[in-house]
């Protein structure tokens, strides 16, 4: 244990306080007056084999009926044809006036320096954390 940790522990023990008899009585009386809430166990649903079998059969039957209905429809009953929109589609054009930012060499240098500093700081923090914990 290092010096600071020891001092923190010693100083915590120098805080002189404990639960008084009066508070103890108060807590006991409060606890006697309440009941803990019952344990809530998740409900288990009964899934019998018959139910599973019946629901599967119903699903298969419904799927077959739907496929038959779609395939046996009259050829003329397809979706109605619509006329194409006579109005030409107008797409508004937006003119952008932008300039590309160019990093001059001092800025690039500064950016690289900052990245290097950041990396150094990260490594220092990592080392400190590894050393402590």
């Amino acid at each position: 244990m290092d010096k600071l940790a020891k001092q923190l522990r010693d100083d915590a023990h120098r805080i002189e306080c404990s639960v008084s008899e009066e508070l103890d009585d108060r807590i006991r009386a409060s606890l006697e007056g309440i009941q803990p809430e019952p344990v809530q166990r998740p409900r288990r649903e009964s899934k019998s084999f018959t139910f599973w079998w019946a629901s599967s059969l119903t699903g298969v039957a419904a799927a077959i009926a739907m496929i038959a209905f779609i395939n046996l429809q009259a050829p003329g009953s397809g979706p109605a044809q619509t006329e194409s929109n006579p109005q030409p589609l107008i797409i508004p054009t937006v003119r952008w006036h932008t300039e590309t930012a160019v990093l001059t060499s001092p800025l690039e240098q500064e950016f690289e320096d900052l990245q290097a500093d950041l990396k150094k700081a990260e490594e220092a923090v990592k080392q400190d954390i590894d050393r402590l914990f």
């Binding site: 508070l23 108060r26 807590i27 006991r28 409060s30 954390i129």
Partner: protein, 182 residues
């Protein structure tokens, strides 16, 4: 089944006596911790009472994968936060020795108690993390669970807390020396 597990089971079944025995080992530590976050001794006592009542009432929600003290401290911190939001006195304003319950409970000493220094210079979360680590001996994982923070947050802030306290402690020591030498 361990003694603690047996007491938890009995308390879950409605035995207040088993619950009292279960928390007996944690009560003084909890009160001390709550005292550092309250504006009066009575508030700290109320917070402890609420913590224990809530713990008893919602004991079914305790997950045995965690230490019991971890769960108890989580409730205590929530209660202290609730109490503080209702309170009009700011802890930072408790510089007057007559009003500060923590100062009243600290034995006289040549140097300032580090927890008074910590309360002045650290945020509440970092303060709590430091307390749980260095007084309650909690693991980083448990502290993260109590404070509902990530493990990385806990590690980084414990380290920051240490650095801040170290710096503050050295500053106070230097000031005291220079005063002594005039």
């Amino acid at each position: 089944m361990s003694n603690e597990a047996a007491l938890i089971e009995a308390a879950r079944n409605g035995s207040a006596t088993a619950f009292t025995d279960l928390v007996a080992a944690y009560r003084d530590g909890l009160l001390r911790f709550l005292l550092t976050r309250s504006s009066s001794f009575a508030d700290a006592e109320d917070a402890l009472q609420d913590t224990l009542i809530n713990a008893y009432r919602y004991l079914h929600s305790y997950d045995a994968r965690w230490r019991f003290s971890t769960w108890l401290y989580r409730i205590a911190i929530n209660n202290a936060a609730k109490l503080k939001s209702m309170d009009t006195v700011e802890l930072g304003d408790l510089s007057d020795e007559g009003n500060d319950p923590l100062r009243q409970c600290i034995a006289a000493s040549e140097r300032e108690n580090l927890w008074l220094l910590a309360r002045r210079s650290l945020t509440e979360e970092v303060y709590a993390a430091m307390w749980l680590r260095y007084v309650e001996d909690m693991s980083i994982k448990d502290i993260s669970a109590v404070l509902e923070k990530s493990v990385s947050w806990t590690k980084v802030n414990l380290m920051r807390g240490r650095k801040t306290l170290d710096a503050e402690f050295n500053k106070v020591a230097t000031d005291e020396k220079s005063k002594a030498y005039g």
